[in-house]
Amino acid sequence: MSMQAVRIVNIVESLLVSNDEAAEVNRARLEAAGVLTVNLMSSPGAGKTTMILKTIETLGERARLGVIEGDIAGSIDTEKVLAGGAGDAIQINTGGNCHLEANMVHRALDDLDLGKCDVLVIENVGNLVCPTHWALGEHLKLCLVGAAEGHDKPIKYPQIFAVSDVIVLNKIDLIEHVDFDRTIFYESIQALNPGVPIFEVSCRTGEGLDAWTDWLLDQLATLRKEG
């Protein structure tokens, strides 16, 4: 057998370039429909589905919200958001996968009626690690944190706070009961992602939801103006 020369070829591309390309296709489709799309990421139990329900309620007639629900199994959340007034909703079951990927969203978009949506929220699988790598075609990555999870979440899971376009601190009615230290929380986020908008809300009392939805509507208006 003859000795074969080994050649080194520089590639220097993202490992997930195929996913990134699929995400761009999704984004183009959403932009053509004028639908502002939010990739909602959090730990399990931070209140993602309740946050969606309260956002629908607070938006009222001002904008219709569509939802893609990502869960390991089951469609309980899709039923909840449809009952709660979502324009349309589709369930993706990842069958064990810990995050959504662009091709899953691509298939879901075939079934979703974008004509009934101004804003689309893609509720990712509850997880603060894996979803950060997979672009889905969203305009905004939203990281939702429940106060009871602790003020040290940005130190323990830095990447999700570094890549998010907006952060919502939920369950602020619990802050005094769980010794949540705002200074540490805000300082850590400032170190990771200077200037990122942070909203404090309580989906239980309704506090802060007006400021959050007003901001969301501003983002929608900007998207449609640019489009």
């Binding site: 050649r7 080194i8 070829v9 993202s14 370039v17 995050h99 830095p158 570094a162 850590s188 400032q190």
Partner: protein
């Protein structure tokens, strides 16, 4: 726990590049992966061994160069690795600015035989 997906995407790209380059065999795959991606090398290697048989990357070596999170201090200009308890500068105590280091997630190069 997302290493299986990552490895599937990686091997798809390796096969695409190998075909484009007319490679008969991929000898080495060189990756750069930052700690901030939370990718575990052992887990990657496990799925690599599982998924490569029968592909152009069978028997290849997978080499991972790791990078780490870093901060720069806006007050005293120290460059440091955060200690895991926060982002404060070890020299002057100011909360530092996290740089992009440690976010790398790249196929850097392939070593191939024609």
């Amino acid at each position: 726990m997302h290493e299986l997906s990552v490895m599937s995407y990686l091997l798809e790209r390796v096969e695409t590049h190998a075909e484009r380059l007319g490679a008969s065999k991929v000898v080495t795959i060189n990756l750069v992966i930052g700690d901030r991606t939370s990718i575990v090398d052992d887990s990657l290697l496990f799925y690599f061994d599982m998924l490569t048989p029968g592909t152009v990357a069978e028997g290849a070596s997978l080499k991972v160069r790791r990078t780490h999170m870093r901060c720069s201090c806006p007050r005293c200009a120290s460059d440091y690795q955060p200690d895991g308890f926060g982002f404060n500068c070890p020299t002057c105590g100011t909360v530092g600015e996290v740089t992009n280091d440690g976010s790398e997630f790249l196929i850097e190069s392939l070593e191939i035989q024609q």
